[in-house]
């Protein structure tokens, strides 16, 4: 079973017929995507709606078939194999529990279709219900369960079949925030326990960062970046990824000079940023500098020896409990978002920053920013 990666998507393109099936009006949902998903990995496909993540998932499941390219599951090419002959199972966004069957019959459905002996089916169904901590709910109907419970049954119904790959299509989308956070942890724990490869589709970047071993960020049918959460967050490789994952300040500039890893980017007449980069840039290249709001410090004095230390004016400040959010103006054109943790409980950050509003310094380390090619 372990020939090659759990799932390999190789140069897959998916076109849907467009308006009135006229040639030339096809919609390209997935555009030359290649991915390798390892055994036992929690892999997320992350992107805004319409980016092709769900289509990719549905092609792995067998509900759609690639226009060109091939999908391999443990080394076996899937071709036009229909969903019911694939060793994958899916957790649907709407849960898709069969409303006319009891919970136990729902969970047993896949085993029944595979003609697993009745005794074994009963035992495995009970194990699956135990696993999602709904042991005594077997005789109920789906409509008698809450959203969170239905979601766990959907999970049990898929996992009871011990699939090679579990596919999850925004399974937490319909839950409220608090329950969603709980389920994120629960899902991640469950995945570690059962050791099954999870392919998880979401548009919620925080969810992807929390749960995934690796994330593929998709946009416009293409995969922009694949990597572990830290890499995706700290070292985005393009403007879209930097902007989509978390908050970020994007400042346009032109490369002025480079010495070693230090690149100086001219922003306007008043300011230039110094950014560390492994890449080599030729002078005059138009680039974007990305700085996360939480990496910028606001200090009452300039920092010696740090090139990214600018006098700033506070345009706006919002207190949000755990931290305070600022808009600080470095120049006529450059306004940055800054987030400061409210570390000292007794002090009123408003008063503190009001006092220093005229003479505050925004500082960040040169490896805190990223330089992105346009």
């Amino acid at each position: 079973m372990t020939d090659g990666p759990a799932v390999e998507v190789r140069q897959v393109t998916k076109q849907f017929p467009g308006f009135a099936r006229q040639p030339g009006s096809e919609v390209v949902a997935v555009d030359d995507v290649s991915l390798e998903i390892c055994d036992g990995e929690f892999f997320s496909l992350l992107g805004p709606s319409g980016c092709g993540k769900t289509t990719t998932l549905r092609m792995i499941a067998g509900f759609e078939h690639p226009t060109t390219g091939e999908i391999y599951i443990h080394g076996k090419p899937m071709g036009l194999t229909p969903a019911h002959l694939r060793n994958t199972n899916m957790v649907f966004q709407s849960y898709a529990l069969f409303p006319h069957m009891s919970i136990a019959d729902n969970v047993a459905f896949g085993l029944k279709m595979r003609k697993v002996p009745r005794d074994e089916t009963r035992r495995r169904v009970q194990d699956a219900l135990d696993m999602v901590r709904l042991s005594n709910y077997g005789q109920r109907k789906p409509s008698q369960l809450s959203g969170g419970q239905q979601q766990r049954i959907a999970l049990a119904r898929a996992l009871v079949n011990r699939p090679e790959v579990l596919l999850l299509d925004e399974p937490l989308g319909a839950l409220d925030l608090k329950l969603r956070k709980e389920m994120q942890i629960e899902l991640k724990t469950l995945q570690r326990e059962v050791g099954i490869t999870f392919v998880y589709v979401t548009h919620d970047q925080e969810e992807a960062l929390t749960m995934s071993d690796r994330i593929a960020v998709m946009h416009g049918g293409r995969v922009l970046q694949v990597g572990p959460p830290i890499e995706i967050y700290e070292r985005p490789n393009c403007r879209f990824v930097a902007d989509f994952i978390g908050d970020t300040n994007l400042v346009d500039g032109v490369v002025q000079s480079q010495s070693g890893q230090e690149v100086t980017v001219h922003v306007d007449d008043e300011i230039s940023f110094v950014v560390e980069s492994d890449e080599t840039f030729t002078t005059g290249t138009e680039v974007t500098v990305a700085v996360r709001p939480e990496k910028i410090r606001l200090l009452p004095v300039p920092t010696q020896g740090e090139p990214n230390s600018f006098p700033a004016k506070i345009d706006q400040m919002v207190y949000v409990g755990t931290d305070s959010r600022f808009k600080v103006r470095l120049s006529e054109r450059v306004v940055l978002s800054v987030r400061q943790q409210n570390v000292i409980s007794t002090s009123d950050p408003t008063a503190y920053y009001d006092a220093g509003a005229e003479s505050i310094w925004a500082v960040w380390l040169r490896d805190a920013a990223r330089i992105l090619r346009n």
Binding site: F63, L85, Q93, A96, F98, H100, F109, M113
Partner: protein, 296 residues
């Protein structure tokens, strides 16, 4: 009138109190009540009373209570017609389902705009008078009709097929006549079906047949039950279709009742037969709903 008064007025209409509420309710239901009493309850009672009376020598009503009309129903002649009518109505219902359900499924899975057009196309023929449409089947099915002429013309058969005047002709006519009554309720429940459930079944290793039998059919059962009742009940009491398309041997309950009232002028027996038919329909309906509720 101030805003406050207007609001009070409105509240009064929505939540009437005391004797006013009773009168308002009565006024509102009076037209329907009148209609039901005068055109449904009273005739029904008259027919019910007649069914226990006796026919006089000249077809008049003799006021003499007896159960003879109901006993006559068990005459093999009438019992046969009764059983055959059930058989024809049953076959009609099954055939309507087998033909209508795929049509409903196909329409319900088209794009939304196309669906409206297709439903319209389905219904348009039924804007024509029922009698005319049934008579059209006479022209199609009779010995020198469209089908036989075409088959003979093509040299496929020498003698015309005996289509006209058979049970087959009646069934064809009934299926045709109540086709939309099967398609529309099925369409309504298929259209409401959450197709991710079908995908879920396929994802759980169900092939297309299993997914159809275990998910699609059970979840659209309400539509199937409604459609079947809408076809079965009128088919059981059919009169025009067997009269035009059936032969002398293909009488159905409806024809017996008609002849008792209009030709034989035995009102009491016709009335009794009507009530037996109604009772049978009631039982059939109850059984059907009981069964379908258990399975769904």
């Amino acid at each position: 009138m101030t805003v406050g008064q207007a609001q009070q007025e409105k509240r009064g209409l929505l939540r009437p109190v005391g004797w006013r509420s009773g009168i308002q309710t009565l006024i509102l239901i009076a037209p329907s009540l009148f209609w039901l009493v005068v055109f449904f309850a009273v005739p029904l009672i008259i027919v019910f009373v007649y069914s226990f009376l006796r026919r006089g020598p000249y077809g008049q009503i003799v006021w003499e209570f007896n159960l003879g009309n109901y006993a006559r129903f068990f005459d093999p002649l009438y019992l046969n017609i009764f059983v055959r009518s059930f058989k024809i109505a049953g076959i009609t219902t099954v055939v309507s389902f087998l033909v209508g359900y795929p049509v409903a499924y196909w329409i319900a899975t088209r794009p939304v705009k196309t669906r409206t057009t297709l439903l319209l196309l389905l219904i348009i023929p039924f804007w024509t008078n029922f009698l005319v449409r049934t008579y059209a089947w006479v022209l199609i099915l009779r010995d020198s009709g469209l089908i036989n002429n075409a088959l003979i013309g093509l040299g496929i058969i020498q003698q015309p097929l005996p289509l006209f005047g058979t049970d087959l002709a009646i069934i064809i006519g009934l299926v045709y006549g109540w086709f939309p009554d099967m398609v529309l309720p099925c369409y309504a429940s298929i259209e409401r079906l959450d197709f991710s459930l079908v995908e879920a079944a396929q994802d759980l290793y169900a092939n297309e047949l299993s997914a159809f039998l275990r998910v699609i059919i059970p979840l659209t059962l309400p539509g199937i039950v409604a459609g079947s009742m809408l076809v079965f009940i009128p088919a059981l009491g059919a009169y025009v279709t067997p009269d035009l398309l059936g032969g002398a041997k293909s009488m159905m309950i409806g024809n017996v009742i008609q002849s008792q009232f209009l030709s034989v002028r035995d009102y009491p027996f016709g009335a009794a037969f009507s009530f037996v038919l109604m009772a049978a329909m009631l039982v059939a309906t109850l059984v059907y709903f009981r069964v379908s509720r258990r399975t769904s």
